[in-house]
């Protein structure tokens, strides 16, 4: 078996810190940067963030929706950004929130987690409404390939609380149940392949001790969360297992590489100091 995603990520966090550069090339960002909201504009935004902020990050996280918006041409742009990212030491996370059943999940696994796919990334975000167990084909493929799956557990957006905070027998919440199932996977055959997504500003903390997998924390920066929020919500997680994505707080600065680099360095330092 290859080294697990969890071990790769922890090793990288030790050397590079916990910053994940979120690349969300929305039409609003394209307008603010003065580039067209087409495939070429998306490539410009993504490559600029990659080269300016990448040196201060452990990973990039690409929001797939903004590439999918343009159909096949958007996916071609995404493939070329992924090629560039593979030239670096950065881990690459596709924020696609995929999730289906059976052979359909096998299709998503082959798209994102197989060595020979043009969309191959180090980790994919996945959504568990069809059951955490339904994600098995994704998790098995990730484990085989030394790649990872981040399962949505507890998110910061206000609409998420109603479902994710619902209580399940014998007593925990839906989100806590997702985390337990992920923990069980990491104790079994998928050791280290499965992580969770936990927002920086969630209404109740989730116990992350002995998760055996990585924790991805979005919602820091423009969405209102701080490095300190990210630390608090993941206080129970293992050291160097938490990575924090910052998106709009970087892209809102515009396309000047020096300004972007300086901001990424500040975020990296702030996050590294607060989380360690």
């Amino acid at each position: 078996m290859p080294e697990s995603f969890y071990e790769r990520l922890r090793r990288s966090v030790v050397t590079s810190g916990p910053l994940v550069v979120g690349i969300d090339p929305s039409p609003a960002v394209a307008r603010a940067w003065g580039v067209a909201s087409d495939a070429s504009g998306l490539r410009t935004i993504a490559r600029t963030l990659l080269s300016a902020c990448g040196p201060f990050a452990v990973a990039i996280k690409l929001q797939v929706a903004f590439f999918e918006r343009l159909g096949a041409r958007g996916y071609a742009a995404l493939e070329s950004v992924l090629e560039d990212a593979r030239e670096t030491e950065l881990l690459v996370i596709a924020d696609a929130k995929r999730g289906d059943i059976g052979t359909s999940n096998q299709g998503y696994a082959e798209a994102w987690l197989a060595d020979d796919s043009p969309l191959a990334v180090d980790a994919l975000t996945a959504s568990p409404y069809l059951g955490v167990g339904a994600l098995t084909p994704l998790v098995e493929q990730a484990a085989r390939a030394g790649r990872g799956v981040f399962v949505l557990a507890r998110t910061s957006n206000p609409e998420g609380d109603r479902l994710q905070g619902a209580r399940m027998p014998p007593g925990g919440t839906v989100a806590e149940d997702v985390v337990s199932q992920v923990r069980a996977w990491n104790r079994g055959s998928a050791a280290g392949a499965v992580g969770v997504v936990v927002g920086a500003t969630v209404p109740d903390t989730v116990a992350l001790a002995d998760l055996g997998g990585a924790v991805l924390v979005p919602g820091v920066g423009a969405q209102g969360g701080t490095a300190s929020d990210a630390h608090q919500v993941t206080a129970s997680a293992a050291s160097h297992s938490v990575v924090v994505s910052v998106s709009r707080a970087l892209s809102d600065l515009g396309p000047d590489p020096r300004r972007l680099a300086a901001a990424a360095q500040r975020w990296r330092d702030d996050l590294a100091r607060t989380l360690s």
Copy 2:
């Protein structure tokens, strides 16, 4: 405002019956059909099912995972299948189970539900783990364009029960809560734009009276459900508001158009008789 997706679908079900031809061009189907598991093979499978079975159906449902598996080339194949489908009277459903928050959902809305997108379809399936309310950008775009969103509510796969059957205050299940939120949308500004997905063989039925939206029932045929199961689980839904997708029970028959057409006609007749 354009005619709502719900009204369009009901009108079509009256004339064409409730059969949805599920197009799931997996590697296994490609092998069984003797075509390559590449973009060209996918197009062959999809076009054959479309032309042979389409005349007996109200809609086709494309499983996006099997196109995404091939990256940009797969999406180009999907776009060309969608072009063919737009030449017919069939409704087109993209089974993509998308779901994110905020501007990311706006990206998915522009990909699948905007008139000028190469991926534009009549309806998109969506996953509510981030909260039904988080799907607002998808629903608003659907309502504006006379298109639809089918929100996953209660699915047939065994792994789904634990989360979807969890009880929420004051007493219903997570799945029932999803249905109530969809109902509230259809009573408000998104009238008729939002439907639900309910599996044919679920452990408990969901009350669908006054939903004001369409019901998509997968899981019939190779997944074990029958027309009678589909009828039972949707007995509380409005007449002509239910459509039933059959995938592998058709594609497993192989590429002979006459055989496929005969099977589609039998399914259409069986479903129309049982559900009406």
